[in-house]
């Protein structure tokens, strides 16, 4: 009897092993129908990316023409003394952006990403941009700092970078505004 039970039980376990192998085999050799579907998904994704590119540019040209465009970017260097929570931007006293950062976005800034936080329009002439940075400073203290920039907007797009960096000598964060032409 013992021998028989072994004989019945063992092939059952083989089934387990063979089933695993079979599943893998299927994964390795897609059917033509499946391949066609995968190819269709890839083709569609490519077209959707291209379409989004065109629409992205169309939207910019339509809503933010170069003659009046102003873009504000946020960047972060090191970030030892400041853990960013949010950035608020006011143009001529009016709030235009109040952005709350996720952990992933903070990480992206720390890795060297530069976020285009606001894209808008501005008439030619003198304007005032005020940015408020909220977060945690050293010793986990709540920290809020503002920085002001007088902007002379001419014809053509204007790019403003709000850079958060570490001021090692004072062990404090530093908020610098730079205008790019």
């Amino acid at each position: 009897m013992r021998a028989w039970i072994k004989a019945t039980a063992v092939p059952a376990i083989m089934l387990l092993a063979l089933a695993t192998s079979r599943a893998e085999e299927q994964a390795e050799q897609p059917t033509p129908e499946r391949s066609a579907l995968d190819a269709e998904v890839q083709g569609l994704r490519r077209e959707v990316v291209d379409l989004n590119r065109d629409l992205f540019m169309l939207e910019e040209d339509l809503l933010f023409p170069a003659s009046t465009q102003i873009a504000v970017f946020v960047s972060m260097d090191v970030g030892t003394f400041f853990d960013l929570d949010s950035v608020q931007i006011r143009i001529d006293g009016k709030e235009v952006s109040n952005y709350l950062y996720t952990a992933r976005e903070r990480e992206a800034l720390l890795r060297g990403g530069v976020q285009r936080i606001w894209l808008g329009n501005m008439k030619a002439g003198e304007h005032e941009l005020v940015a408020f940075f909220t977060g945690q400073g050293t010793h986990e203290r709540d920290y809020k700092r503002g920085t002001t920039l007088a902007i002379d907007k001419g014809v053509g797009a204007k790019y403003v970078e709000l850079r958060i960096s570490d001021r090692l000598r004072k062990l404090q964060p530093e908020f610098v505004v730079k205008v790019w032409e």
């Binding site: 387990l16 089933a19 990316v49 040209d61 970017f73 990403g113």
Partner: protein, 641 residues
């Protein structure tokens, strides 16, 4: 025993696949993998692998921001748009490399390959960029199963990669060799290799597997044992350690070393994904040593687990088998009956699930399960309600094919949402253009009237006259030209006096008057001469200011005229673009919807096939259990031992 050897071989074959580099823990972006046979450690386009770059255009930084935030689709769209807008020129090659990488991470292998090949064909591409392009091209080719070409590309790297990428390159080469059955070459590639800790562990695992597959079992076992004894708190490495111990356990079983196998299998964590297979193997190790009492410990533990797992299903036969071996026939029969009951109940549930899947409820459940929690979908699945459509999701999602299919389905769904969003926006764009056109038409008469009032040519002419007068005064040193209004009146008065005096020339009674007039003129001339330099400076400054004002006026006028003419042209051009892009959005939305439906059907087919396979397996188990009971009763009634 021969049968068991087969089992071990088959199980080992399942695990004896190469393992490669990892995506960042919790990373949800698609990973470029070859058909997955075993554990995998393959980096997606790794943010840490990008070289540090000094941003020379903020737009490239914006692309990097979305890339580092793992929003690869948005990063690719922005990169393509900024490239068209010529914002990325200072970073052209890095951007191109990133573009290829983004295509790779989105699973667009053809585009990725073309991008890298283009970079490599450009003889001016710097060596460091070429190395990275070769590396990523190797990854694309590996992911598409072109292992020969992949190896050639990976070997073309000339040594300029960072250590993480270099480690991954080495492992990819070895894996490709193993997929092609070239185990000796893979061993040569990995033997003695030392990389960063995580990579070294994967390298050793692969080396161990390759050695076993190359019939160099003793060294292979030693290598797997090294990985199996890793002391680590890293979840990825713990998972690898479990796999190493499982592979080692089954390899030792195959080699007829059940005690050593049991030791290796005991090291597999009880709650990990390999736990059930390890428990099953541990029981077999005990059984192989003839200790059925001890074999019951892992098998009974397995018996209490979720019946969806194949190892657990197996334990429903293994437990009564052990009791039978221990001559506990009553308990053996009881467990066989329990197995039949459990298999039957499970089969009914599978049938309910198949019906639910056919009715289309599976996808709703699958998408709800992983929406917003892609990195932790397994954890979330465990809390799903026990409904027919969701009962087997955990099991299905563990399968490579279903996972890949669901990924495509999710991608199609997000494409559909994206197109839907743009469709709404395009409607708003059209309205906006219409509103702008109406507002422009409304303001046009007043604007035209104002423009007509301004004669730029006349302003220019008058300014030119003034300039000519000033230049003449300067040339002739004509101090009277810069006289004030009062001085002019004095000069005019003196001219009148002079005329009156001329009428009385020779009349001595006018001599005093003549002398006074002469003196007055002299004083006036003196005064005009004294202030000449100051007045010249003032006049020149006024002329410069006038020039600036005239220039501004002319510029504004030109701007207004240009806007008057250009606004309708610009609006028309934008309308054309909106009109041209609208059918693309609509057409794509239709195709995406159709493909999504087909993909949904494909997922349902995969799920149903998988469940039917389970049902067939349960049927076979059930038959075996019934046959075993019948045989036991038969033997009992015939008095056979």
């Amino acid at each position: 025993m021969a049968s068991r050897l087969n089992i071990v071989l088959a199980v080992l074959a399942a695990w004896a696949a190469p393992v490669a580099g990892s995506a960042t823990a919790g990373d949800s972006v698609p990973v470029a993998t070859a058909p997955e046979l075993g554990a995998a450690r393959i980096n997606t386009l790794d943010p840490a692998g990008l070289p540090a770059v000094k941003i020379q255009d903020l737009h490239y930084g914006d692309v990097l921001f979305h890339f580092y935030a793992r929003d690869h689709f948005e990063a690719l769209v922005r990169l393509s748009a900024y490239r068209e807008q010529r914002h990325l020129n200072p970073h052209a090659r890095d951007a191109e490399l990133l573009r290829g990488g983004l295509y790779l991470s989105l699973g667009q292998h053809r585009e990725a390959r073309e991008t890298f090949e283009r970079l490599l064909a450009d003889t001016t591409t710097p060596a460091q960029v070429r190395d990275r392009a070769w590396f990523y091209l190797g990854k694309v080719l590996y992911a598409t199963g072109h292992f020969d070409q992949s190896e050639r590309a990976l070997r073309a790297v000339s040594g300029g990669l960072q250590i993480e990428l270099e480690s991954e390159r080495r492992l990819l080469i070895a894996q490709g060799l193993m997929y092609r059955g070239q185990f000796d070459a893979a061993i040569a590639e990995l033997d003695g290799w030392q990389g960063p800790d995580n990579w070294t562990a994967y390298g050793r695992f692969n080396l161990g597997v390759a050695l076993v597959r190359a019939n160099r079992a003793e060294r292979g076992h030693a290598m797997l044992e090294q990985v199996g004894l890793l002391r680590t708190t890293d979840s990825e490495l713990r998972s690898l350690r479990d796999k190493a111990n499982l592979a080692l356990g089954y390899a030792l079983l195959q080699a007829g070393q059940p005690a050593a196998a049991r030791t290796a299998l005991d090291r597999v964590r009880l709650e990990g994904p390999q736990a059930n297979k390890a428990l099953l193997g541990a029981g077999w190790a005990d059984a192989a040593g003839g200790d059925y009492q001890q074999a019951l410990v892992p098998w009974v533990e397995l018996h209490g687990r979720d019946l969806l797992d194949a190892a657990v299903q197996e334990s429903y036969l293994a437990v009564p088998y052990a009791y039978a071996e221990l001559s506990a026939i009553g308990q053996a029969v009881g467990y066989y009956e329990q197995a039949i009951e459990a298999y039957d109940a499970e089969r009914i549930r599978i049938e309910e699930s198949i019906a639910a899947i056919r009715s289309g409820r599976l996808l709703t459940a699958a998408l709800a399960a992983d929406r917003g929690a892609q990195s932790d979908w397994f954890a979330q699945l465990t809390s799903l309600p026990d409904a027919p459509e969701s009962r087997y999701l955990y099991h299905l999602l563990a399968g490579h094919e279903f996972q890949e299919g669901l990924k495509s389905y999710r991608s199609l769904e997000s494409m559909a949402q994206n197109l839907d969003g743009w469709s709404t926006s395009l409607g708003a764009f059209s309205d906006m253009l219409g509103t702008r056109a109406s507002a422009f038409a409304g303001k046009l008469p007043e604007a035209d009237r104002r423009l007509a009032m301004v004669d730029v040519a006349d302003i220019n002419r008058r300014r030119d006259d003034l300039r000519a007068q000033l230049e003449a005064a300067l040339r002739d040193r004509d101090t009277t030209a810069l006289a004030t209004e009062a001085e002019r009146q004095w000069l005019a008065m003196l001219a009148g006096v002079d005329a009156e005096l001329a009428a009385h020339a020779g009349d001595a009674s006018f001599d005093e008057a003549r002398e006074k007039a002469r003196l007055t003129r002299g004083v006036l001339t003196w005064n005009l001469d004294a202030v000449w330099k100051t007045r010249v400076w003032q006049a020149q400054r006024a002329m410069r200011e006038l020039d600036a004002v005239v220039y501004d006026a002319r510029t504004r006028h030109a701007g207004a005229v240009k806007a008057r003419k250009g606004t309708p042209e610009r609006a028309a051009a934008l309308s054309v673009r909106v009109d041209a892009v609208s059918p693309r959005v609509t057409g794509l939305a239709v195709r995406v919807a159709a493909t999504k439906e087909a993909q949904g059907r494909r997922l349902a087919d995969i799920a149903i096939n998988e469940l039917e396979e389970q049902r067939r397996r349960l049927d076979e188990y059930s038959v075996q259990a019934r046959y075993a009971i019948a045989t036991i009763y038969d033997r009992a009634s015939s008095g056979a031992p």
